[in-house]
Amino acid sequence: MTPALLYGLSGALLVAIGLAGAIASRSLVRRILGFNLLGSGAFIIIIAFARRVAGPVPDPVSHALVLTGIVVTVSATAVALALAVRLHDDEDGRDE
């Protein structure tokens, strides 16, 4: 058992928890939280893969990929949250 393997398994669990939460939650905000957990789990698995080779430098391509992924995730999260807030506002307006 190497640390990369251990973290890879931890990432797999994170994906599962995020996936279950994103599907089964009633709250839109919690679904977006689940979507973020799912993404983080995938990133951990990718970097664990990059670290499986015992060398001085891990694969920089995977690292650049995950860096891009983190920035794209925050963009998607912002748009999703804006939609959730707007949906809530519009539903409120209809009820009143």
Binding site: Y7, A20, A24, L33, V57, V61, A76, V85
Partner: protein
């Protein structure tokens, strides 16, 4: 990195445990706080996996900016009052959906665990290609070399995605009136003193991350997240310089346009999109990153500010 240490076991166990807490806490505010703690824990995981660039990005963007986004969204969505669940939600077969979700998640976890356990431990070809070409990239940090030189195309489009998100959030979020960046004030002497104390330091840290990113962990996006944090802090303290609305598009899109201009200019100079000559690459990359630092900071701050209006009509005393 050698064997599995106590810290590794602690972190590997803490990540799924915190994630479960994020999903299971009834109170969304608590869930969001735990989510931010999880982000910082994952930043430590990145350090243990020899990925310091990602650790910086995770702490600043993943935990910091994303956490701020969720906090701001929760301020606008004050949670359903008790017992006020809509009728269609009661009749919806939640039990069946939850059961199916758990089964699906279990299958996904098993497949991913199988993939993690059986992946071959040979070095990918692309790792060697990057190592061989690294001296020609103009920067010493291989991750920065991949991001801005070898795969600059990806990063160009990534900035495009950020810009689109800022546009989308501005369109969806603030429909009543355009909220300026100075709209949100937190009153009290503590935040004012804290802002005066922190802001110069944060600006220096952002510039340092950009400069050091050429050879050490760091880079434009990490610096931009720190700068965006400084911008948010100054706005909450009420000391932010008010950017006129007509200047904001220049600030938001400037980095992307500069990147695009340099990318196209390389066709004329070196005969290929984003093809840099080894001798001058360092300075072109620095120019691109400087533009990205300012623009991405403005975009990240805009995402947080424009997510919701500050003067909410329904928010009475």
């Amino acid at each position: 990195m050698n064997g599995v240490g106590f810290v590794d076991m602690l972190l590997a166990a803490a990540v799924p445990a915190l994630a479960a807490a994020v999903m299971l806490y009834r109170d969304l505010f608590r869930a969001t706080v735990v989510f931010i703690v999880l982000g910082l824990t994952i930043a430590l995981v990145w350090v243990r996996l020899d990925a310091p660039d990602i650790a910086l990005a995770e702490a600043a963007v993943g935990a910091g900016i994303t956490g701020a986004l969720f906090m701001r969204a929760l301020g606008a969505i004050p949670g359903p009052p008790r017992g006020a669940i809509a009728v269609d939600r009661v009749s919806f077969p939640w039990l069946a959906v939850r059961g199916a979700a758990v089964v699906l998640a279990a299958v996904a976890a098993l497949l991913l665990a199988w993939a993690v356990l059986t992946v071959p431990s040979s070095e990918p070809v692309v790792t060697r290609l990057v190592r061989d070409a690294a001296p020609e990239s103009g920067v010493g940090n291989p991750v920065t070399a991949v991001l801005l030189n070898f795969r600059g195309y990806d990063t160009l489009l990534e900035v495009g995605v950020l810009l689109l998100a800022a546009l989308g959030v501005s369109t969806i979020g603030a429909d009543r009136h355009a909220a300026s960046l100075g709209g949100t004030r937190v009153r009290g002497p503590v935040i004012l003193a804290f802002a005066h104390f922190m802001l110069p330091g944060l600006a220096v840290v952002a510039a340092y991350l950009l400069w050091i990113g050429a050879d050490q962990p760091g880079g434009a996006f990490q610096g931009a997240a720190v700068l965006a944090g400084a911008w948010l802090l100054s706005a909450f303290a009420g000391v932010a310089a008010d950017v006129p609305a007509r200047r904001m598009p220049v600030l938001l899109a400037g980095g992307f346009l500069l990147f695009l201009l340099v990318a196209a200019g390389m066709i004329a100079i070196n005969g290929g999109l984003l093809r840099f000559a080894p001798a001058t690459a360092k300075w072109w990359l620095l120019l691109i990153e400087s533009g990205l630092l300012i623009s991405c900071a403005a975009i990240l701050a805009t995402l947080v500010f424009r997510l919701t209006d500050d003067e909410r009509p329904e928010a009475g005393p």
